[in-house]
Amino acid sequence: MADQILDAKGLNCPLPILRAKKALKELPTGGTLEIQATDPGAVKDFEAFCRTTGNELVESRVDGKTYIFVIRHTG
């Protein structure tokens, strides 16, 4: 279970990334954030976001029409 959950369902690029960044900033280092999104582009985007910022993408899966990402704040 992630420390915090961000509902980004129905939001389009770049809002899921921008909201996730904001939420991560408020998490302590090592904390985890779960993002729920419906934008299929978010799959590649969260991978790129994590590679560039040094945060750890712990999980990336699909649940029905929802994409779920878990990011650990390490960047």
Binding site: P14, I17, L18, K25, N55
Partner: protein
Amino acid sequence: MSSEANAKSMSLIVTKGTLDWAYPPFILATTAAAMGLEVTMFFTFYGLTLLKKKLDLKISTLGNPAMQMPMMGMHMALPNLVSAVPGVDGIATAMMKNLIKKKGVASIEELREMALEADVKMIACQMTMDLFEYTMDDMIEGPALGGAASYIEVATRSDINLYI
């Protein structure tokens, strides 16, 4: 998030002020800032109007020959010629704004606010301000006044330089 010292950087020249063309620079600027880049936007010519306090952005079918709007399950082309019909640009703008809302796309006002919150630096082109008779009172708080030399200085030390 990444350490300030080795942060990458990006500069953008923003030259267009229609609703559709306002998106690419603000999307890229906010996203780059979220990914730890230092971002500078230089607003010149019609792009300068994107810094006005109150935005009333419109799209034009003129000069957008590939524009197609989803309508009743199909895509309708809007050739340059139809922009001569009174009211067509207004209709196209209303359709676009409706789509933006429906598809969960951020408004330009929202993206601009997020850019400022993320410390994106904004430079308003002094020459354009003078040319189109704007003062800083017409503009939002945040942008600095500058010219080509200010932009070039930023560009020489940026990893990414875009002209939109």
